[in-house]
Amino acid sequence: MKFTDRTRFITVALAIPIIWLVAFRLYPIVYSAYLSFNTYYLLSGQVTFQGLSNYISVFHDPLFRVSLLNTIYLSLGLGIVGIWIALGLAMALRSVKNLRIQTIYRTIIFIPAVTMMVATAQAWTWMFQPSYGVINYLLSLIELGPFRWLTSPSEVIPAIIITTLWKTLGFTVVLFEAGLAGIPEAFYEASEIDGATKWQQFRHVTWPLLSPATIFVFVTGLAAALQTFTQVYVMTMGGPGTSAYTLVFYVYQRAFVYKDLGYASAVAYVVFLIIFIASYLQLRYIKEKLWA
Protein backbone atom coordinates (compact mmCIF):
# COMPACT_ATOMS: atom_id res chain seq x y z
CA MET A 1 0.00 0.00 0.00
CA LYS A 2 2.67 2.44 1.06
CA PHE A 3 4.87 1.35 -1.81
CA THR A 4 2.26 2.08 -4.45
CA ASP A 5 1.53 5.46 -2.93
CA ARG A 6 5.23 6.32 -3.08
CA THR A 7 5.59 5.10 -6.65
CA ARG A 8 2.54 7.00 -7.73
CA PHE A 9 3.85 10.18 -6.17
CA ILE A 10 7.24 9.91 -7.86
CA THR A 11 5.57 9.18 -11.20
CA VAL A 12 3.27 12.15 -10.97
CA ALA A 13 6.06 14.43 -9.81
CA LEU A 14 8.43 13.53 -12.61
CA ALA A 15 5.99 12.97 -15.47
CA ILE A 16 5.84 16.59 -16.62
CA PRO A 17 9.59 17.24 -16.37
CA ILE A 18 10.37 14.03 -18.27
CA ILE A 19 7.89 14.71 -21.07
CA TRP A 20 9.11 18.29 -21.26
CA LEU A 21 12.73 17.16 -21.32
CA VAL A 22 12.18 14.75 -24.19
CA ALA A 23 9.82 16.91 -26.27
CA PHE A 24 11.24 20.37 -25.80
CA ARG A 25 14.92 19.76 -25.15
CA LEU A 26 16.34 16.38 -26.21
CA TYR A 27 14.31 16.05 -29.39
CA PRO A 28 15.15 19.59 -30.56
CA ILE A 29 18.84 19.08 -29.86
CA VAL A 30 18.91 15.93 -31.96
CA TYR A 31 16.69 17.36 -34.69
CA SER A 32 18.82 20.46 -34.89
CA ALA A 33 21.96 18.33 -35.30
CA TYR A 34 20.19 16.42 -38.08
CA LEU A 35 19.16 19.65 -39.81
CA SER A 36 22.68 20.99 -39.66
CA PHE A 37 23.80 18.24 -42.06
CA ASN A 38 21.00 18.98 -44.50
CA THR A 39 19.59 21.71 -46.67
CA TYR A 40 16.12 22.57 -45.54
CA TYR A 41 14.22 25.64 -46.64
CA LEU A 42 11.17 26.36 -44.57
CA LEU A 43 8.93 27.06 -47.55
CA SER A 44 9.94 24.18 -49.84
CA GLY A 45 9.88 21.60 -47.06
CA GLN A 46 12.39 19.45 -48.90
CA VAL A 47 15.31 18.03 -46.93
CA THR A 48 18.50 17.24 -48.86
CA PHE A 49 21.49 15.60 -47.25
CA GLN A 50 24.63 17.74 -47.44
CA GLY A 51 27.16 16.02 -45.24
CA LEU A 52 29.58 18.48 -43.71
CA SER A 53 29.16 21.14 -46.36
CA ASN A 54 27.08 23.45 -44.15
CA TYR A 55 29.84 23.42 -41.55
CA ILE A 56 32.53 24.04 -44.15
CA SER A 57 30.53 27.00 -45.47
CA VAL A 58 30.25 28.47 -41.99
CA PHE A 59 34.01 28.81 -41.77
CA HIS A 60 34.18 30.60 -45.12
CA ASP A 61 31.21 32.82 -44.41
CA PRO A 62 32.29 36.47 -44.08
CA LEU A 63 29.05 37.40 -42.33
CA PHE A 64 29.62 34.68 -39.74
CA ARG A 65 33.08 36.11 -39.10
CA VAL A 66 31.64 39.62 -38.66
CA SER A 67 29.04 38.29 -36.23
CA LEU A 68 31.64 36.33 -34.30
CA LEU A 69 34.01 39.29 -33.96
CA ASN A 70 31.17 41.60 -32.92
CA THR A 71 30.00 39.10 -30.32
CA ILE A 72 33.50 38.76 -28.88
CA TYR A 73 33.92 42.54 -28.81
CA LEU A 74 30.55 42.92 -27.07
CA SER A 75 31.20 40.16 -24.54
CA LEU A 76 34.68 41.29 -23.58
CA GLY A 77 33.59 44.91 -23.39
CA LEU A 78 30.67 44.03 -21.16
CA GLY A 79 32.69 41.64 -19.03
CA ILE A 80 35.71 43.82 -18.40
CA VAL A 81 34.02 47.19 -18.00
CA GLY A 82 30.99 45.71 -16.21
CA ILE A 83 32.94 43.87 -13.54
CA TRP A 84 34.94 46.91 -12.49
CA ILE A 85 31.99 49.28 -12.36
CA ALA A 86 29.86 46.72 -10.51
CA LEU A 87 32.60 45.96 -8.03
CA GLY A 88 33.14 49.66 -7.40
CA LEU A 89 29.43 50.20 -6.85
CA ALA A 90 29.16 47.18 -4.56
CA MET A 91 32.06 48.41 -2.41
CA ALA A 92 30.61 51.91 -2.32
CA LEU A 93 27.26 50.47 -1.31
CA ARG A 94 28.80 48.50 1.53
CA SER A 95 30.63 51.56 2.81
CA VAL A 96 27.29 53.32 3.36
CA LYS A 97 26.75 52.84 7.05
CA ASN A 98 23.12 53.98 7.32
CA LEU A 99 21.13 50.84 6.49
CA ARG A 100 18.06 52.64 5.24
CA ILE A 101 20.02 54.80 2.84
CA GLN A 102 21.90 51.71 1.76
CA THR A 103 18.62 49.98 0.91
CA ILE A 104 17.45 52.99 -1.08
CA TYR A 105 20.70 53.06 -3.08
CA ARG A 106 20.44 49.33 -3.70
CA THR A 107 16.89 49.71 -4.95
CA ILE A 108 17.96 52.48 -7.32
CA ILE A 109 20.84 50.42 -8.67
CA PHE A 110 18.63 47.37 -9.09
CA ILE A 111 15.64 48.99 -10.82
CA PRO A 112 17.15 48.84 -14.33
CA ALA A 113 17.51 45.06 -13.91
CA VAL A 114 13.74 44.72 -13.78
CA THR A 115 12.99 47.00 -16.73
CA MET A 116 12.34 45.07 -19.90
CA MET A 117 15.13 44.73 -22.44
CA VAL A 118 12.92 45.91 -25.30
CA ALA A 119 11.95 49.02 -23.35
CA THR A 120 15.54 49.65 -22.30
CA ALA A 121 16.77 49.31 -25.87
CA GLN A 122 14.13 51.70 -27.20
CA ALA A 123 14.73 54.26 -24.48
CA TRP A 124 18.45 54.26 -25.19
CA THR A 125 17.85 54.40 -28.95
CA TRP A 126 16.02 57.65 -28.33
CA MET A 127 18.75 58.95 -26.03
CA PHE A 128 21.44 58.02 -28.55
CA GLN A 129 19.60 59.82 -31.35
CA PRO A 130 22.40 61.84 -33.03
CA SER A 131 20.69 65.21 -33.55
CA TYR A 132 17.97 65.39 -30.89
CA GLY A 133 19.23 62.82 -28.40
CA VAL A 134 20.02 63.81 -24.85
CA ILE A 135 23.35 61.98 -24.68
CA ASN A 136 24.98 64.02 -27.41
CA TYR A 137 23.57 67.12 -25.76
CA LEU A 138 25.03 66.21 -22.35
CA LEU A 139 28.37 65.34 -23.94
CA SER A 140 28.39 68.64 -25.80
CA LEU A 141 28.25 70.42 -22.44
CA ILE A 142 31.69 68.97 -21.69
CA GLU A 143 32.82 69.62 -25.27
CA LEU A 144 32.66 66.04 -26.48
CA GLY A 145 31.16 64.71 -29.67
CA PRO A 146 28.87 64.89 -31.46
CA PHE A 147 28.88 61.13 -31.87
CA ARG A 148 26.84 59.27 -34.47
CA TRP A 149 26.19 56.33 -32.13
CA LEU A 150 23.77 53.87 -33.70
CA THR A 151 24.22 55.28 -37.17
CA SER A 152 27.96 54.70 -37.21
CA PRO A 153 29.52 51.27 -37.83
CA SER A 154 32.27 51.92 -35.30
CA GLU A 155 30.13 53.43 -32.55
CA VAL A 156 27.17 51.09 -32.65
CA ILE A 157 28.75 48.32 -30.55
CA PRO A 158 29.90 50.67 -27.77
CA ALA A 159 26.36 52.09 -27.71
CA ILE A 160 24.92 48.58 -27.34
CA ILE A 161 27.46 47.83 -24.60
CA ILE A 162 26.40 50.93 -22.65
CA THR A 163 22.72 50.00 -22.99
CA THR A 164 23.27 46.41 -21.88
CA LEU A 165 25.51 47.51 -19.05
CA TRP A 166 22.81 49.78 -17.68
CA LYS A 167 20.35 46.93 -17.52
CA THR A 168 22.65 44.20 -16.18
CA LEU A 169 24.70 46.18 -13.67
CA GLY A 170 22.22 45.90 -10.76
CA PHE A 171 22.30 42.13 -10.94
CA THR A 172 26.11 42.06 -10.85
CA VAL A 173 26.27 44.55 -7.99
CA VAL A 174 23.96 42.44 -5.83
CA LEU A 175 26.07 39.36 -6.50
CA PHE A 176 29.28 41.18 -5.60
CA GLU A 177 27.66 42.55 -2.47
CA ALA A 178 26.78 39.04 -1.34
CA GLY A 179 30.36 38.01 -2.05
CA LEU A 180 31.77 40.97 -0.11
CA ALA A 181 29.49 40.22 2.83
CA GLY A 182 31.11 36.78 3.05
CA ILE A 183 34.58 38.18 3.73
CA PRO A 184 35.23 38.24 7.50
CA GLU A 185 35.97 41.68 8.97
CA ALA A 186 38.87 40.16 10.90
CA PHE A 187 40.98 40.01 7.72
CA TYR A 188 40.64 43.74 7.23
CA GLU A 189 41.40 44.49 10.86
CA ALA A 190 44.47 42.25 10.79
CA SER A 191 45.80 43.81 7.60
CA GLU A 192 45.19 47.28 9.00
CA ILE A 193 47.33 46.47 12.03
CA ASP A 194 50.05 45.30 9.64
CA GLY A 195 49.87 48.73 8.03
CA ALA A 196 48.38 47.72 4.68
CA THR A 197 47.18 50.52 2.41
CA LYS A 198 43.65 50.49 0.97
CA TRP A 199 44.97 49.28 -2.36
CA GLN A 200 46.99 46.49 -0.71
CA GLN A 201 43.89 45.45 1.23
CA PHE A 202 41.93 45.30 -1.98
CA ARG A 203 44.67 43.47 -3.86
CA HIS A 204 45.46 40.87 -1.20
CA VAL A 205 42.25 40.48 0.79
CA THR A 206 39.18 41.56 -1.16
CA TRP A 207 40.11 40.42 -4.66
CA PRO A 208 41.28 36.86 -3.83
CA LEU A 209 38.47 36.19 -1.35
CA LEU A 210 35.91 37.56 -3.77
CA SER A 211 36.97 35.23 -6.57
CA PRO A 212 34.00 32.81 -6.30
CA ALA A 213 31.64 35.73 -6.90
CA THR A 214 33.84 37.12 -9.67
CA ILE A 215 33.96 33.74 -11.38
CA PHE A 216 30.23 33.36 -11.23
CA VAL A 217 29.66 36.86 -12.56
CA PHE A 218 32.10 36.30 -15.39
CA VAL A 219 30.81 32.87 -16.43
CA THR A 220 27.11 33.80 -16.39
CA GLY A 221 27.82 37.22 -17.87
CA LEU A 222 29.78 35.73 -20.74
CA ALA A 223 27.13 33.12 -21.49
CA ALA A 224 24.50 35.87 -21.59
CA ALA A 225 26.62 38.27 -23.63
CA LEU A 226 27.42 35.61 -26.21
CA GLN A 227 23.67 35.28 -26.78
CA THR A 228 22.93 38.99 -27.22
CA PHE A 229 19.94 39.42 -29.50
CA THR A 230 17.14 41.70 -28.32
CA GLN A 231 19.19 44.89 -28.09
CA VAL A 232 20.59 44.39 -31.57
CA TYR A 233 17.19 43.61 -33.06
CA VAL A 234 15.44 46.54 -31.43
CA MET A 235 18.13 49.19 -31.70
CA THR A 236 19.48 48.79 -35.22
CA MET A 237 18.32 45.50 -36.77
CA GLY A 238 21.98 44.50 -36.94
CA GLY A 239 22.92 47.70 -38.72
CA PRO A 240 24.10 50.02 -39.96
CA GLY A 241 24.64 47.46 -42.71
CA THR A 242 25.85 44.38 -40.92
CA SER A 243 28.08 46.16 -38.42
CA ALA A 244 26.10 45.14 -35.33
CA TYR A 245 25.39 41.53 -36.32
CA THR A 246 25.81 39.17 -33.39
CA LEU A 247 25.88 35.38 -33.60
CA VAL A 248 22.34 34.83 -32.39
CA PHE A 249 21.09 37.64 -34.61
CA TYR A 250 22.80 36.01 -37.57
CA VAL A 251 21.18 32.64 -36.80
CA TYR A 252 17.83 34.41 -36.53
CA GLN A 253 18.34 36.17 -39.88
CA ARG A 254 19.38 33.00 -41.65
CA ALA A 255 16.63 30.85 -40.19
CA PHE A 256 13.65 33.17 -40.05
CA VAL A 257 14.29 35.83 -42.65
CA TYR A 258 15.99 33.68 -45.31
CA LYS A 259 14.17 30.51 -44.11
CA ASP A 260 17.43 28.60 -44.48
CA LEU A 261 17.00 26.24 -41.52
CA GLY A 262 19.73 23.75 -42.37
CA TYR A 263 22.52 26.26 -42.63
CA ALA A 264 21.20 28.23 -39.64
CA SER A 265 21.29 25.04 -37.54
CA ALA A 266 24.91 24.52 -38.46
CA VAL A 267 25.70 28.09 -37.40
CA ALA A 268 23.78 27.52 -34.16
CA TYR A 269 25.84 24.42 -33.42
CA VAL A 270 29.06 26.30 -34.02
CA VAL A 271 27.80 29.00 -31.65
CA PHE A 272 27.01 26.33 -29.08
CA LEU A 273 30.51 24.93 -29.44
CA ILE A 274 32.01 28.39 -28.98
CA ILE A 275 29.96 29.07 -25.84
CA PHE A 276 30.83 25.64 -24.49
CA ILE A 277 34.56 26.02 -25.12
CA ALA A 278 34.58 29.55 -23.72
CA SER A 279 32.89 28.44 -20.50
CA TYR A 280 35.12 25.39 -20.22
CA LEU A 281 38.36 27.31 -20.75
CA GLN A 282 37.23 29.95 -18.32
CA LEU A 283 36.44 27.43 -15.61
CA ARG A 284 39.72 25.60 -16.16
CA TYR A 285 41.79 28.77 -16.16
CA ILE A 286 40.05 29.94 -13.01
CA LYS A 287 40.48 26.61 -11.27
CA GLU A 288 44.21 26.63 -11.98
CA LYS A 289 44.48 30.17 -10.69
CA LEU A 290 42.46 29.36 -7.62
CA TRP A 291 43.95 26.10 -6.54
CA ALA A 292 47.51 26.65 -7.66
Partner: protein, 265 residues
Protein backbone atom coordinates in the same frame (compact mmCIF):
# COMPACT_ATOMS: atom_id res chain seq x y z
CA UNK B 1 21.16 55.01 -12.96
CA UNK B 2 17.67 56.48 -12.91
CA UNK B 3 18.33 59.13 -15.54
CA UNK B 4 17.10 57.02 -18.51
CA UNK B 5 13.85 56.32 -16.68
CA UNK B 6 13.49 60.00 -15.88
CA UNK B 7 14.19 60.85 -19.50
CA UNK B 8 11.58 58.37 -20.76
CA UNK B 9 9.03 59.86 -18.38
CA UNK B 10 9.93 63.42 -19.37
CA UNK B 11 9.73 62.65 -23.11
CA UNK B 12 6.41 60.88 -22.68
CA UNK B 13 4.89 64.09 -21.27
CA UNK B 14 6.14 66.33 -24.06
CA UNK B 15 3.85 67.61 -26.78
CA UNK B 16 4.79 66.79 -30.36
CA UNK B 17 6.67 70.05 -31.00
CA UNK B 18 8.95 69.79 -27.97
CA UNK B 19 10.49 66.53 -29.16
CA UNK B 20 12.38 68.47 -31.81
CA UNK B 21 13.69 71.12 -29.47
CA UNK B 22 17.41 71.43 -29.17
CA UNK B 23 18.89 71.76 -26.64
CA UNK B 24 16.33 69.36 -25.12
CA UNK B 25 14.43 70.46 -22.02
CA UNK B 26 14.64 68.22 -19.01
CA UNK B 27 11.20 69.19 -17.73
CA UNK B 28 8.55 69.55 -20.43
CA UNK B 29 7.44 73.15 -20.87
CA UNK B 30 3.84 72.29 -21.64
CA UNK B 31 3.35 68.83 -20.15
CA UNK B 32 0.54 66.83 -21.71
CA UNK B 33 -1.04 63.43 -21.30
CA UNK B 34 -1.96 63.30 -24.99
CA UNK B 35 0.68 60.67 -25.71
CA UNK B 36 -0.84 58.36 -23.14
CA UNK B 37 -4.22 59.03 -24.71
CA UNK B 38 -2.82 57.98 -28.08
CA UNK B 39 -1.37 54.80 -26.66
CA UNK B 40 -4.38 53.81 -24.56
CA UNK B 41 -7.38 55.13 -26.46
CA UNK B 42 -6.09 55.73 -29.97
CA UNK B 43 -6.32 59.52 -29.81
CA UNK B 44 -5.26 61.24 -32.97
CA UNK B 45 -1.72 62.53 -32.96
CA UNK B 46 0.33 64.52 -35.49
CA UNK B 47 2.33 62.35 -37.85
CA UNK B 48 0.73 59.15 -36.69
CA UNK B 49 -0.87 56.98 -39.32
CA UNK B 50 -2.07 54.08 -37.24
CA UNK B 51 -5.16 54.62 -35.21
CA UNK B 52 -5.06 51.94 -32.60
CA UNK B 53 -2.35 50.40 -30.48
CA UNK B 54 -3.87 47.38 -28.68
CA UNK B 55 -1.70 47.90 -25.63
CA UNK B 56 -4.42 46.61 -23.32
CA UNK B 57 -4.66 43.31 -25.17
CA UNK B 58 -0.90 42.94 -25.20
CA UNK B 59 -0.85 43.64 -21.50
CA UNK B 60 -3.45 40.94 -20.82
CA UNK B 61 -1.56 38.48 -23.06
CA UNK B 62 1.70 39.14 -21.27
CA UNK B 63 0.16 38.96 -17.81
CA UNK B 64 -1.68 35.73 -18.62
CA UNK B 65 1.41 34.08 -20.09
CA UNK B 66 3.75 35.24 -17.32
CA UNK B 67 1.41 34.15 -14.55
CA UNK B 68 0.72 30.75 -16.15
CA UNK B 69 4.39 30.04 -16.75
CA UNK B 70 5.29 31.13 -13.22
CA UNK B 71 2.59 28.97 -11.63
CA UNK B 72 3.59 25.90 -13.68
CA UNK B 73 7.28 26.45 -13.04
CA UNK B 74 6.75 26.75 -9.30
CA UNK B 75 4.74 23.55 -9.19
CA UNK B 76 7.08 21.43 -11.34
CA UNK B 77 10.19 22.83 -9.66
CA UNK B 78 8.98 22.21 -6.14
CA UNK B 79 7.54 18.75 -6.63
CA UNK B 80 10.40 17.37 -8.68
CA UNK B 81 13.01 19.19 -6.63
CA UNK B 82 11.54 17.53 -3.55
CA UNK B 83 11.53 14.11 -5.21
CA UNK B 84 15.16 14.52 -6.30
CA UNK B 85 16.13 15.59 -2.80
CA UNK B 86 14.26 13.12 -0.63
CA UNK B 87 13.49 9.95 -2.60
CA UNK B 88 15.81 7.19 -3.72
CA UNK B 89 14.96 5.39 -6.92
CA UNK B 90 16.70 3.89 -9.89
CA UNK B 91 18.04 6.41 -12.40
CA UNK B 92 17.49 9.39 -10.14
CA UNK B 93 20.98 10.83 -10.38
CA UNK B 94 21.23 10.22 -14.11
CA UNK B 95 17.93 11.98 -14.72
CA UNK B 96 18.90 14.87 -12.50
CA UNK B 97 22.22 15.26 -14.32
CA UNK B 98 20.46 15.34 -17.70
CA UNK B 99 18.06 18.02 -16.46
CA UNK B 100 20.91 20.06 -15.01
CA UNK B 101 22.92 19.75 -18.21
CA UNK B 102 20.09 21.60 -19.93
CA UNK B 103 21.11 24.75 -18.14
CA UNK B 104 24.20 24.68 -20.36
CA UNK B 105 22.29 24.49 -23.65
CA UNK B 106 21.95 27.94 -25.21
CA UNK B 107 18.51 28.75 -26.58
CA UNK B 108 19.93 29.42 -30.03
CA UNK B 109 20.61 25.69 -30.52
CA UNK B 110 17.05 24.58 -29.89
CA UNK B 111 15.06 27.52 -31.21
CA UNK B 112 14.89 26.32 -34.82
CA UNK B 113 13.60 22.77 -34.13
CA UNK B 114 11.38 24.13 -31.37
CA UNK B 115 9.85 26.50 -33.88
CA UNK B 116 9.31 23.69 -36.41
CA UNK B 117 7.79 21.50 -33.70
CA UNK B 118 5.44 24.14 -32.36
CA UNK B 119 4.23 25.26 -35.79
CA UNK B 120 3.74 21.66 -36.91
CA UNK B 121 1.48 21.14 -33.93
CA UNK B 122 -0.54 24.10 -35.18
CA UNK B 123 0.40 26.22 -32.22
CA UNK B 124 1.61 29.30 -34.07
CA UNK B 125 -0.15 32.39 -32.68
CA UNK B 126 -1.48 30.63 -29.61
CA UNK B 127 -0.94 30.96 -25.89
CA UNK B 128 0.24 27.39 -25.54
CA UNK B 129 3.15 28.09 -27.91
CA UNK B 130 4.41 30.62 -25.40
CA UNK B 131 3.52 28.71 -22.24
CA UNK B 132 4.10 24.98 -22.75
CA UNK B 133 7.80 25.06 -23.72
CA UNK B 134 8.53 27.02 -20.52
CA UNK B 135 6.59 25.06 -17.89
CA UNK B 136 9.71 23.37 -16.54
CA UNK B 137 12.82 25.20 -15.41
CA UNK B 138 16.01 23.19 -14.82
CA UNK B 139 17.27 26.03 -12.69
CA UNK B 140 14.08 25.98 -10.61
CA UNK B 141 14.35 22.23 -10.06
CA UNK B 142 17.95 22.64 -9.02
CA UNK B 143 17.15 25.49 -6.65
CA UNK B 144 14.25 23.67 -4.97
CA UNK B 145 16.25 20.47 -4.66
CA UNK B 146 19.02 22.33 -2.85
CA UNK B 147 16.49 23.83 -0.49
CA UNK B 148 14.57 20.58 0.15
CA UNK B 149 17.83 18.82 1.01
CA UNK B 150 18.04 21.06 4.04
CA UNK B 151 14.66 19.92 5.40
CA UNK B 152 15.20 17.27 8.14
CA UNK B 153 13.83 13.80 7.26
CA UNK B 154 12.18 13.60 10.69
CA UNK B 155 9.37 15.92 9.66
CA UNK B 156 8.55 13.80 6.64
CA UNK B 157 8.86 10.47 8.47
CA UNK B 158 6.71 11.64 11.38
CA UNK B 159 3.92 12.58 8.99
CA UNK B 160 4.23 9.27 7.16
CA UNK B 161 3.98 7.33 10.43
CA UNK B 162 0.74 9.10 11.11
CA UNK B 163 -0.54 7.59 7.92
CA UNK B 164 -0.43 10.62 5.65
CA UNK B 165 -0.15 9.93 1.95
CA UNK B 166 2.83 11.28 0.04
CA UNK B 167 0.66 14.00 -1.51
CA UNK B 168 -0.46 15.12 1.93
CA UNK B 169 3.13 15.24 3.16
CA UNK B 170 4.09 17.27 0.13
CA UNK B 171 1.19 19.66 0.41
CA UNK B 172 1.03 20.07 4.21
CA UNK B 173 4.70 19.88 5.18
CA UNK B 174 7.01 20.57 2.27
CA UNK B 175 5.09 23.32 0.51
CA UNK B 176 4.70 25.60 3.57
CA UNK B 177 8.38 25.23 4.41
CA UNK B 178 9.46 26.26 0.93
CA UNK B 179 7.53 29.49 0.67
CA UNK B 180 10.54 31.81 0.75
CA UNK B 181 12.57 30.16 -2.02
CA UNK B 182 9.34 29.75 -4.01
CA UNK B 183 8.68 33.47 -3.76
CA UNK B 184 12.20 34.17 -4.96
CA UNK B 185 11.80 31.73 -7.84
CA UNK B 186 8.45 33.31 -8.69
CA UNK B 187 9.91 36.81 -8.84
CA UNK B 188 12.74 35.55 -11.01
CA UNK B 189 10.56 33.54 -13.41
CA UNK B 190 7.90 36.22 -13.70
CA UNK B 191 10.34 38.99 -14.59
CA UNK B 192 12.17 36.78 -17.03
CA UNK B 193 8.95 35.78 -18.73
CA UNK B 194 7.64 39.34 -18.86
CA UNK B 195 10.88 40.30 -20.58
CA UNK B 196 11.08 37.42 -23.07
CA UNK B 197 11.39 38.56 -26.64
CA UNK B 198 13.06 36.14 -29.06
CA UNK B 199 10.64 33.23 -28.65
CA UNK B 200 7.44 35.31 -29.01
CA UNK B 201 9.06 36.95 -32.04
CA UNK B 202 9.34 33.54 -33.69
CA UNK B 203 5.93 32.04 -32.96
CA UNK B 204 3.62 35.06 -32.85
CA UNK B 205 2.74 37.00 -35.97
CA UNK B 206 -0.82 38.21 -35.34
CA UNK B 207 -1.21 41.63 -33.77
CA UNK B 208 -3.81 40.42 -31.29
CA UNK B 209 -1.60 37.66 -29.85
CA UNK B 210 1.51 39.77 -29.29
CA UNK B 211 3.13 40.21 -25.93
CA UNK B 212 4.12 43.67 -24.73
CA UNK B 213 7.79 43.20 -25.61
CA UNK B 214 6.91 42.04 -29.08
CA UNK B 215 4.19 44.60 -29.64
CA UNK B 216 6.22 47.55 -28.46
CA UNK B 217 9.25 46.41 -30.48
CA UNK B 218 7.41 45.67 -33.71
CA UNK B 219 4.80 48.39 -33.71
CA UNK B 220 7.32 51.17 -33.50
CA UNK B 221 9.84 51.28 -36.30
CA UNK B 222 13.52 51.59 -35.66
CA UNK B 223 15.52 54.77 -35.32
CA UNK B 224 14.77 57.54 -37.74
CA UNK B 225 11.14 58.24 -36.95
CA UNK B 226 11.64 60.86 -34.29
CA UNK B 227 8.08 62.14 -34.26
CA UNK B 228 6.93 58.84 -32.77
CA UNK B 229 9.23 58.96 -29.80
CA UNK B 230 6.92 60.77 -27.39
CA UNK B 231 4.22 58.17 -28.01
CA UNK B 232 6.71 55.32 -27.80
CA UNK B 233 8.02 56.61 -24.47
CA UNK B 234 4.46 56.75 -23.13
CA UNK B 235 4.01 53.13 -24.16
CA UNK B 236 7.29 52.24 -22.45
CA UNK B 237 6.23 53.91 -19.20
CA UNK B 238 3.04 51.83 -19.19
CA UNK B 239 5.10 48.79 -20.14
CA UNK B 240 7.73 48.92 -17.41
CA UNK B 241 5.66 50.33 -14.56
CA UNK B 242 3.86 47.11 -13.53
CA UNK B 243 7.11 45.24 -13.06
CA UNK B 244 8.82 48.12 -11.29
CA UNK B 245 5.87 48.45 -8.88
CA UNK B 246 5.83 44.70 -8.38
CA UNK B 247 9.56 44.88 -7.71
CA UNK B 248 9.25 47.70 -5.18
CA UNK B 249 6.61 45.74 -3.27
CA UNK B 250 8.35 42.37 -3.36
CA UNK B 251 11.89 43.66 -3.41
CA UNK B 252 13.16 41.28 -0.77
CA UNK B 253 12.27 38.25 -2.87
CA UNK B 254 13.79 39.68 -6.03
CA UNK B 255 17.13 40.33 -4.44
CA UNK B 256 17.24 37.00 -2.58
CA UNK B 257 16.14 35.29 -5.77
CA UNK B 258 19.04 36.73 -7.69
CA UNK B 259 21.49 36.04 -4.91
CA UNK B 260 20.26 32.47 -4.47
CA UNK B 261 20.54 31.92 -8.18
CA UNK B 262 24.03 33.31 -7.93
CA UNK B 263 25.50 31.54 -4.98
CA UNK B 264 24.15 28.10 -5.59
CA UNK B 265 24.62 27.67 -9.31
Amino acid sequence: MLFPIFWVLSTSLKPYAEIFEYPPKFIPEHPTLANYGTVLFGWWSPGLVMTEIPLGIWFINTAFISISVTACTLFTSLISGYVFAKFRFKGRDALFTVILANMMIPFVVIMIPLYVLVTNMGWANTYQALIVPSVVSPFGIFMMRQFCKGIPDDYIDAARLEGSSEFTVFWRIIFPMCKTPLAALAAFTFTWQWDDFLWPLLVISSTQMRTLSLGVAVFFPFYGTIYLYAILMAAIVLFIMPVIIFFLIAQKYFVTGFVLSGLKA
